[in-house]
Symmetry: C3
């Protein structure tokens, strides 16, 4: 739920400066907040999570409306920073939850749970950036998806080899994702040069 | 069917001025016309509507070809205006039909049928704008999705509290969506200032 | 598998000049290589192909990593040309395989198998271009999708009227797609003027 709120709010704030109306803002917030999980459930072939528990949608709508009304307040520097950390926490929760759900369904072990963790964590953000016409996170060198990859891989290894420590593994791997993401935000880290191609001068 | 035709035709016309070939135009027309309903059926977990009744695809293909051939005629001012109204009628039909289908399947009542009505009505247009590289309707202040929200909400309220008037409710709410959309086209209405964020000068 | 490799490699090379990090490159490569088939299986309502055989994902990851590491080598003119032909072969394989799979499931015969052949063959490329922020193939006049249309239509006609020659039909139609595509690459063919709208001077 915290992840839903964070995703909806950051989506609305990302486009608020472009002159968007309330309805467009809410649709974008809801798509961002629920898009990753919807993709996950479609691929898993299970009922979409928000159809069985409508609270997810209500929360996403409410968060989007609040973000729309308070956008001038929330884009203040210190509050926006707090939201980035909340977004990092949301990413961590979404990723671990998705990997665990796929693992529990015995879906394409061991690789597919990692893939679905990543898809769920970044899928909503990709949809947001596509619809908002912004460059998306795959095209930048921000340290965003790499923590998710590490955390989900670690979690899957624990589920495979130490299934009796599943709960601690989930907590530990979730904290790892959040910690790496928070460090990336705090120190403004990006992917090192040797792991990136050089952009051609254009 | 009228909606399919309207969506396919407006999609082809939207990109005709960019220099597109016949095949690309038909693919774009078919995606726009069937994309919203395909998303709806995927989320509902039911067979895709056009697989069981291929006429939808044939009609979309035929409409796209006609629009491609006649694009210089159809972009004439008075005819294009007529198409906008047809598009509004298509949106109304798609939205009410999707909300009713989701309701009939007892899918996430009462909120999810409204969501699916909106997704079906605007999904095809969002795909079209993404593929055509145009700003999409969420990013503008055109009065497009708000009528759909109002109409679907009204229809769901009728299904909940006055199920014996289901048929009249569908007709009334569909006409409401079309009426609001037609008014928005006729008087060039957009979302009022107090419901929109100010775009920052850039 | 050859198609998976070709799609992943060309996707990574397409964005390498933009300054992308290893992780983003791999995600983009995997999405491009598996996106079309994932869409196909979602629409067909069957389990996603890469969940039952993880080798597809492993191959896509490996090919993306190799393409990332060797991108300065692979963008050399003669090698890139070879990759374009490999991509053409991948398109041909994907299209025929998808059309055959849909036909075998008795899915919306006779039209839907053709549609799914096209969706599978070009879906990955459309996703790649959307995520990479490039103009996509529907918006250009490159002779890309038309060979797919012709080949799939021919294959469906053979499945319908000459089912005893199914294997030869698949090979023949696949070679037709590849041949047309190779000719388009070799002679730099594009869709003739009379099949395209004139772009307006802007």
């Amino acid at each position: 739920m915290a992840g839903i709120v964070a995703f909806a709010v950051t989506a609305v704030l990302a486009v608020a400066s472009k002159g968007i109306d309330l309805f467009g803002a809410v649709v974008l917030g809801v798509i961002t907040a629920t898009g990753g999980g919807t993709l996950r459930d479609l691929v898993l072939g299970v009922p979409i999570f928000w159809a069985t528990d409508l609270d997810y949608i209500w929360v996403a709508i409410a968060a989007s409306v609040v973000a729309f009304v308070a956008n001038t307040l929330l884009t203040r520097k210190e509050i926006y920073a707090a939201l980035l950390y909340l977004d990092g926490a949301g990413v961590a929760l979404f990723a671990i939850q998705a990997a665990g759900k796929a693992w529990g369904l015995d879906f394409g072990r061991p690789l597919a749970p990692v893939i679905l963790g990543i898809v769920t964590a970044i899928g909503g953000g990709l949809l947001r950036d596509l619809l908002a016409g912004r460059p998306n996170l795959l095209m930048t060198r921000e340290l965003y998806a790499t923590p998710v990859l590490l955390g989900c891989t670690g979690y899957v290894l624990i589920l495979q080899f130490l299934p009796e420590h599943q709960v601690y593994g989930a907590i530990g791997c979730g904290l790892t994702i959040f910690g790496l993401r928070a460090a990336a935000i705090h120190w403004n880290l990006s992917v090192p040069d040797w792991l990136a191609t050089k952009p051609k001068p254009s």
